[in-house]
Amino acid sequence: MSSNPLPVTILHYILGLLPVKDIVTFGCVCKAWRDIVIDPNFVSTHLNFQSESRRCLLYYKEGGRHGGKNVFLSVNDRNFAAHSILEVPFSRMLRKNHQRLRFSHWRGMRGEKLELMPDAMQRTIIQQWLSMDVFIGLLIGLKVVLVSLFWYLILVVRNLERTLPKYDRDEDSKSLGYGYQPQVSLVMLRESLAMIVCYFRNPVVMECCNIWVMRKYGMADSWSKQHSIGPITSIYRCLGIVNNRDLMLHTYDPDDLVTFRESLVLYKEGFHLTPRKDLLVEGGIHLGKRKRSVFMLLQQKWL
């Protein structure tokens, strides 16, 4: 004997509190639930509900048990087991040569700039990790690079405020979007897979950057533009997302890092941060002509 079904608004509340993995699973409960799960309104609700919980994206793997797919895990900072996996739709982009996961790490001290993880360091870490028995079983079948990610995952969780986990799609270490190529990074924004695309006016000046978010979980064509920032003359590049929701921007002054909150409030964090008033953000989907063409180019190349 089943009583009245719960209204859809209530289901939005309940499902909004769950991790992505459960949401995708529960799409199989019935057709009505399936509709809820892929409803962009629901995804918005979910993003808002999750904004305070500090789940973050951390892990990439290729091959292994998931049959050669590229997946991202988002990990709750208190519990490694409570993870959710998001399939990255543009697998071709990730399978390109010289791909690397790049963790930007900022220590918040004067003179100490943003660190990117060099290859040599990765190798050392891998060796350290291979000597540890505990994770060997877990890691069998994964590519060696991933081991370092596990290591870094711990570091990131310990130091969440300061580390900007992101996946840069770049050909070599020099390329930070120079040469007019847009710089593309995958990041986690409010527990949702997001993509930062930085466009450059000339080799040094970032023209603007757009944040795309995957609106329907597990659906490749649901990427939509959430924010557009710029044009800004004083910003050198966009570093990533901190605290699961704030953008961190690098200005020309090497000591000057600016965090930028989605709600348009700039605030100071650490040393030598100057609040900027000249940043512009627009929500929703609004593509200028030129930006659109760049995005088309991007789609043709990598999506």
Binding site: P5, L6, Y13, L18, T25, C28, V29, C30, I85, G218
Partner: protein
Amino acid sequence: MSSSIASSSSSSSSSSKKEKKISLKTSDGEVFEVEEPVAMQLEIVRSFFADNEDVTEQTVMPLPNVSTAAMHGILEYCRAHEEFRRRMPEAAPEEEVRAFEAGYVDRKSNEELKEMILAANYLNISKLLDFLTGVAAKRIENKSVEYVRAFFGVENDFTPEEEANLRREYEWAFEGVDED
């Protein structure tokens, strides 16, 4: 008319010897006599009394969507919160509230929980609704699809092929699900 409402509310707050009661009638006909501050936590009751000028203290407010069992549970919660507020009007004693809430919800079965969510939604008690939906989410987190169907009493309207396709498509999400 508005002055009489103001005076009655001020007299009720000043005279504590006899508390004002509000009568609420559930779907199965039982009438609950509820203390005014507790009843006012029910948004639907509050607006009923605020909007209708011709209701008196003797008016019995019918609540056709709320069963007696759910009403018992809801009043228990609202009374406890009223008690907390009276003791500490500034800041609620958080630990006590949490201990009460944990004990309170442990005794509820899934079916009771669902019924109370529906009732809390109808009565528009946002605090209780937030709390109960959180509990429901915790109960279904990392559970199997079958468990969730049973929990919510939902019929599976997919054909076996459709369901198999969905499961294949999102295979990764189905790994490591808790035993029911």
